[in-house]
Symmetry: C2
Subunit: 423 residues, 2 copies
């Protein structure tokens, strides 16, 4: 890992919460649906593009240089007379359908606020500051398109086939917005032009609120794997088949799922997650012993080796239970994504700046995916979380209290300032 | 219970297996589907009615008096010069879609064979013998229409609303076959005209085959109840919600289902069954902690009090687990059918006749419903099972070996003869 030099600022800088809040409310009007109170800014929709043009205006009125690249990523740049790699700050402004007003938007507008405070304070950085709002972080077209294009991870093959689950091709969606999809293959940014990437995001989970903490300093994005498991027994009339003469596939799943807490205790960590979220019984009739069950296991951890241990344990337990219940056991590993580590110097900076601001902070994994995970592959990158009320996100009632917004923006501001002062 | 007098026959009578087998194969051609090898004689279909007319011909060529009533029930009568309540034997000739060749058909054709053997042997009974093939035993229209009409349990309201799940009204289905549905309300048979009802059926379960037994003497039809249970927790991102901060509805179901063997051990009998056959997770997404689960519990036993104990235990366990997982627990009792007891003198007769034929027999409950359960409400009734290969039924590969067919038909024949000799 690149070693970033520490350079503590003497006194903490402060964002203007009123200005940031006004921006968040203004952006929230774009794509707002009165009926369900949700925000609809799915990638390359009219509302998504309107929000990007709105951001360009905000950047320009804050004396930044703005542009939108061929992937739809919006950039702003300040202190651009300095010929050094930039400190990049940002997130995304696209949303899921019926999303909330903080997911992505907070990171982008706190980044904008950072630029404004530094301009206002006549801050003299040693590097330029850049702001980004990446395109399609929510994965409407099956990836994190904007950041992947920026990192040079988008291929022509992918561009040709990527589409929404409803079948809208990314090619058509982009052309309808006046973008030139083929040019996306040329926009990859040279990593050596970026000094560090910093992102502020809402937690989208219950940890900070439950523990009464102000700031989550993200140590990395959990790795995640998805298995689809099939247990096959024998469908029987639920009346004529005595309990001890059944090959009940569902009872096999029950015995397995009952072992999940033990598997995590023995082979996992406090960062481990094992979730059975999809279950399909066949025939699925109340009066028939289930002859077959197909179910998903999604496993997560911050370490690849732990993920593999969890997967191995699941396999061993399933094989044993299949024998016990006279079931045929099969599974397919649909995906395996390695964990991404945030840069230790950024983790360290966020932690120190939180402390300097007298905020409580915890180093924690991110269970959800973020733009940071792709940035972490090419440059030093890191992110912080602020509490989500009730852990709710991707829904109209997604909320973060204003003091938490302010705290997060202040930590981001001071860490950005710190990295801007590095040689 | 009416006490039936015992009258042992001196030497066991024997059916003509070749004749019975020929009949079974002949009937199996009606409604046979070459593609899936299944039998399609659903109630009031053309094939069902053709089978009923075919049965009338077989009765008449066996010197019986045949008729089809307004419900579609086929009757044959022998020794009808004797003015006494009849011994009634039979089952049904309708099938499920893609059914097998023994379910119902065996009981009807073994009953016909009984009549033929007794005629051939110039048997001198003290009562008439009647044969019946009831209509829609398989419940296409939501009941056991034929036997319920025969027992006077069909109402005008029911007739007006009964329909298949696809929406075909019984009224229309019957009229299309030239039957007059409104007349069904007048066909109820006076119980005092029937001395006893005896039915032979395939087991449709694995018990006899697994235990290597020839004959199952049915002690009664299990009572059955159906609950639909809802557990509501909170849907969360499977990555951002730590294991100990979830209200995972599926894990609540898992903990409950894991207790089923204990619940039966503590509160049930060897006749008890508890089955979870239907499970619906919401949202059902692999990457989301299931916020809600709806599932069925179907419980069975031969005693109402045991069924109630099982239901109470399920409720108690579910309430405890709901508290433990922070879930909201709700359930609806969709149905509760009391058990039906077979008549002890018929159980006794079947057991004795099996023994006289040197066959192994066990007294056992029927977990599936049969015409006998409605007959048992109005007259002394009972039934026997013969082994089903692999416990399979309601499928093209339903099978019963010919020696077992012969054994069952012989036991039926000799018990019928015994009851025909009673004063």
């Amino acid at each position: 890992m690149t070693k970033l030099k520490k350079a503590a600022t003497k006194q903490s800088l402060k964002v203007d919460l009123d200005r940031l809040r006004d921006n968040l409310y203004e952006l929230a009007k774009i794509g707002y649906n009165e009926e369900d109170k949700g925000i609809y800014r799915t990638a390359f929709s009219d509302a998504d593009m309107e929000a990007r043009r709105w951001l360009v205006e905000r950047i320009e009125e804050s004396d930044g240089k703005a542009h939108i690249d061929e992937a739809g990523n919006v950039f702003g740049k300040w202190f651009d007379d300095i010929d050094k790699p930039s400190v990049l700050v940002g997130s995304h402004t696209d949303s899921v359908p019926a999303g909330g007003m903080f997911d992505g938007a907070l990171g982008v507008l706190a980044g904008l606020e950072t630029a404004r405070v530094l301009k206002d304070q006549k801050f003299k950085p040693k590097r330029p500051l850049e702001l980004v709002s990446f395109a399609d972080e929510e994965g409407l077209f099956g990836g994190m398109f904007g950041v992947q294009a920026f990192c040079g991870k988008v291929t022509l093959d992918w561009m040709k086939t990527a589409s929404t689950v409803e079948g809208l091709r990314i090619f058509d969606a982009m052309e309808a917005q006046g973008l030139e999809p083929m040019k996306v293959l040329n926009i990859a940014r040279k990593p050596e032009t970026i000094h560090a990437f910093l992102e502020l995001h809402i937690e989208q989970g219950p940890v900070l609120e439950t523990k009464g903490l102000n700031i989550g300093v993200v140590e990395g994005i959990s790795g995640v794997y998805k298995w689809v498991v099939t247990l096959k027994g024998k469908a029987n009339h639920a009346g004529t088949a005595p309990m001890n003469m059944r090959s009940d596939a569902f009872m096999g799943l029950v015995d397995f799922a009952h072992e999940i807490p033990r598997i995590i205790e023995e082979d996992g960590t406090e960062n481990s997650r094992l979730t059975v979220g999809m279950v399909e019984l066949k025939p699925g009739n109340p009066h028939t012993v289930p002859g077959e069950v197909e179910f998903s296991i999604v496993g997560r951890d911050m370490k690849n080796s732990i993920m593999r241990n969890l997967a191995n344990s699941c396999q061993k337990v399933l094989a044993t239970i299949a024998r016990r219940h006279n079931l045929h056991f099969d599974f397919a590993e649909h995906s395996w994504l390695d964990p991404y580590q945030c840069h230790e110097d950024i983790i360290d900076s966020f932690s120190r700046q939180a402390k300097a601001l007298d905020l409580s902070a915890v180093v924690m994994p991110s269970g959800a995916g973020h733009d940071t995970q792709f940035m972490a592959e090419i440059v030093p990158a890191g992110m912080i979380f602020v509490p989500s009320v009730g852990g709710i996100s991707h829904a109209p009632d997604e909320w973060t209290n204003w003091p938490d917004v302010e705290n997060g923006a202040n930590v981001l501001l001071n860490s950005v300032a710190e990295f801007l002062m590095q040689n």
